[in-house]
């Protein structure tokens, strides 16, 4: 435990130092850069609200990652699963009749998102269980296919592209019907939607599932030793496939929440790397859902702060990306210094 604290503390220290160096390189004094970062996180209801929306997306993906990881699987495919979830959610969200009650519309949207993501992860799960293909490679490759499917969907009128009326028609879908848009949480000028509530519920349910149910114990058993679990009579294949599908499903829901927030359309690159960041959150949290919640919030705040860092202090927003990756590399690289570190 003490070593863990040392590693995390050291990693954060290194990351902060790198951040300061980058801010100085960008020509901003530390206090100016710090001020801009802080304002971008907590300075306005808008900034904090968008940070919460990002947090929700990351937490959903990282929760799914943690569930699959408990069964010994590494889901690198969050990005592609988000993409498929987003496509499915858009397909539902633009075609619902106008008078649909919001509760029904939102439920349909989220279920579609879950199904899209679960289906995409299901491909990798099937290959893993039936043919023993390493899920890391398949989920990674399927990311790129999924992102291309978004490209395809928004460029083809036969699929989800809005009707082309002039040369200026953007390659994106029609906006979702009113009822399928995520309601805002309430505070004025805050873009925060109920996605954060959804994410919080998922984290809590997943924590209870993994810790207090027979399914959780079975998943842990499979994760610790497949042969031993099989000898105990556990349905190893079904548990693994199920956990990976749930991971994909949660990533799909994350994609659906992105579609159902402003500007309510499916567009190219709407996943914008959240899938990979969510994976990183899951890895850093190392199986603890409390850590998932905390790290998601920290990364969500950092992302929002980074945008303001560029706007207010003129430091390229890319520096936040650098700081995050330095953090990951330090934590991942210190694995042999941690006693009994689970790999």
């Amino acid at each position: 435990m003490r070593r863990d604290l040392l590693v995390y503390g050291g990693a954060v220290l290194v990351a902060v130092l790198v951040g300061l160096a980058l801010a100085a390189g960008g020509g901003a004094a530390p206090d100016v850069a710090g001020r801009a970062l802080w304002d971008g996180m907590f300075g306005s209801p808008y900034a904090f609200g968008s940070a919460l929306n990002t947090t929700a997306v990351l937490a959903l993906i990282a929760t799914g990652f943690t569930i699959a990881h408990r069964a010994g699987l590494v889901n690198v495919g969050g990005e592609g699963q988000m993409a498929l979830g987003g496509i499915a959610a858009t397909a539902v969200g633009v075609s619902l009749p106008a008078g649909t009650p919001a509760v029904l519309a939102l439920t349909a949207l989220l279920i579609a998102g879950f199904a899209g993501g679960a289906l995409w992860a299901g491909v990798a799960a099937w290959l893993r269980v039936r043919r023993g293909v390493n899920e890391v490679i398949t989920t990674l490759l399927l990311n790129f296919v999924g992102l291309c499917l978004v490209l395809l969907a928004v460029h083809e009128e036969a699929l989800l592209r809005q009707p082309v009326t002039s040369a200026d028609t953007l390659p994106q879908s029609e906006p979702l019907v009113e009822a399928a848009r995520l309601p805002l949480l309430g505070p004025p000028e805050s873009p925060a939607t109920i996605a954060i509530v959804l994410a919080a519920v998922s984290v809590i349910v997943a924590a209870l599932l993994l810790r207090h149910t027979a399914t959780g114990t079975r998943l842990t058993a499979v994760g610790m030793s497949e042969p031993a679990a099989a000898r105990l009579g556990l349905p190893v294949g079904r548990l693994q496939a199920g956990s990976l599908a749930v991971a994909g499903g949660l990533a799909g829901v994350a994609g659906a929440t992105l579609i159902a927030t402003v500007p309510y359309v499916l567009a190219e690159h709407f996943t914008s790397g959240y899938g990979f960041t969510g994976l990183v959150v899951g890895l850093l949290a190392r199986g603890s859902l409390t850590a998932v919640a905390g790290i998601s919030l920290a990364f969500g705040l950092l992302a929002s702060g980074g945008i303001n860092l560029q706007l207010a202090a003129g430091v390229p927003a890319a520096s936040v990306q650098v700081v995050q990756s330095v953090l990951i590399i330090c934590v991942a690289g210190a694995v042999i210094f941690r006693k009994g570190a689970a790999r």
């Binding site: 043919r131 390493n134 520096s319 936040v320």
Partner: protein, 306 residues
Amino acid sequence: MSAFAELVDGGVRLAIPLLVASAGELVSERAGVLNMSVEGIMLTGAFAGAVGAHTTGSASAGLLCALVAGLLAAALQAVLSVTLRADQIVTGVAANALALGATTYGARLYFTEGRTVPGFDPVALPLLSDIPVIGPALFDQSVLGYGCVLLTVLLAVLFGRRTGFGLAVTAIGADAETADRSGLPVNAVRFGAVLLVGVTSALAGAHLALADVHAFTDNLTAGAGYLAVAAVIAGRWRAWPTLAACAFFGLAQALQFAAPAFGIHLPTAVLVMSPYLLAVVAVSGLVGASRAPAGLTRPFAREARA
């Protein structure tokens, strides 16, 4: 130039960086180290090459900078995945994010006016370049392009399946413990293999920046590094199929631009996704058995007992 010749020309131009990068990655993966960071090292190489060429005004100096930067980036990856036994996929993806962030940041600060840089111009080989269609495509490359192909051939010969080097690498990737007991320096070879990936990936990146577009733009590589890794997987860890995969990926990319000339109206997205789809099919074992090196992504430490 006919549409067909243009397609072949574009395909070869896009395939060369993939080819050289996957040649290094193939050796490394056969030794048991998966470098997701090919993408990041390529980007680093492209950026360093562009900065070097821009500062000195000489493309060769730029190439040197690219190689040094590539080696440094690869050394970081090697320390992480071989010495510190960190998760190779995680650190690889993180290294890519780091490279993307750092080069974007660096480019903002460095390239304040214009992003074009001096580069390598094509040198047409006499006679050979007069062969119709494949002549201009294959034998009208830059010095850097020829260098990439030459290095690829060299690596293929040196690390073939029947040479001493090749056997040693395969043995280490298949079963590190046994290889170690039989006296092979497992971690030294793996470290070297990652450094080799640094050289080949940096060359690939430099080719993109200095011989192809003659400029540096944010995220110049745009996934080419992942394609190189996908080519090795799609080629099922064998040299010839990997070469074929690279050629196919290059042509698929070139077809995006050439398709209208053939009257083919495939959506771009279908062409962009085809390499990845092909790689998925290849690893899924739907067409023949796929044999990944048994020790791929498994770090080795002598005292470790599984």
